[in-house]
Assembly symmetry: C2
Amino acid sequence: MRLTAKSEYGLLAMIDLACREGAGPVSARAISERQAIPAKFLEQLFVALRQAGLVSAVRGARGGFALDRPAETITVLDVVEALEGPLRTTVCDGERAAACGKGKACAAAGVWERATSAVRTVFGATTLAELADTQQEFEVSADVPTEAAGGS
Amino acid sequence: MRLTAKSEYGLLAMIDLACREGAGPVSARAISERQAIPAKFLEQLFVALRQAGLVSAVRGARGGFALDRPAETITVLDVVEALEGPLRTTVCDGERAAACGKGKACAAAGVWERATSAVRTVFGATTLAELADTQQEFEVSADVPTEAAGGS
DNA sequence: CTCAATCCCTACTGATTCAGTATGGTTTCT
DNA sequence: AGAAACCATACTGAATCAGTAGGGATTGAG
Ligand code: FES
Ligand code: FES
């Protein structure tokens, strides 16, 4: 259960896409500039997101990415697991659990599992549609329409 | 919000102590052997646990550690934060949040905060007393009294 | 057709963190 | 005196992370 910059950048990119649902494909370069994400790093994230079936890509000039499903049906959990792999407990798990000799008889393991499960619930209950809404409200109330209106 | 071996080992050690509450001090060596934790690594953890006020130490021969408060009043959150530092969000936080230019107007940040908060709730609601209970039930039902009875 | 834009994919690297070890010191019981 | 135990810091090999590099494949525009 470890969150890295992949999740941060990846979720920002997906929110950006959700804010433009319906319009044509959005290029990685555009997102990279709006969200201040290193361009080549973002490209790698999109490879994973596409392989997970969350976005579809249009290649060639004027190409880009778009959500492959309605934003209401994509959760943060989908995005995070596409980028970081299955959300699993990092302690009392796997080989170490076999090595400690306790097997299933470990009170600590239950705590870690409940914590992971709680995170999974939060992530699974939050959709891109909600986040896009929240983000756009932020940008309307502020004077800095980074997301909705084209800057220069 | 990252959990490392410190938390795993530290919690195991604290559960071990909670199982022997009331008896005299327990040496780090004994815990290290029962829980299969590298001895010198465990010593470091106890330094942190003592500085956090969770355990008290008795120095010298026949010395050891004991819980400094009743097991009912020590939560997993106390243990984890003593060992890993404050449980904080690892994305959209600190310097990076300042650098991204969004400040408070970031929809993603809310998700990470809710996830961290959920973990904090789970950890804060679980006491060592409960875990010691659970662990001792495990050991009674199984034939392997690692925790309660002294092996040889 | 040619070319630029864009996606696609793998490999590499410097920095950081982790897990564990090493070393030596201090305190206290026997 | 000596052993047992806690105290504290420094060091190291391995793994992971964040980001870069380089090239290849596909497509629209002129
Ligand atoms: S599963 Fe091995 S110590 Fe918890
Ligand atoms: S706070 Fe900066 S991107 Fe979320």
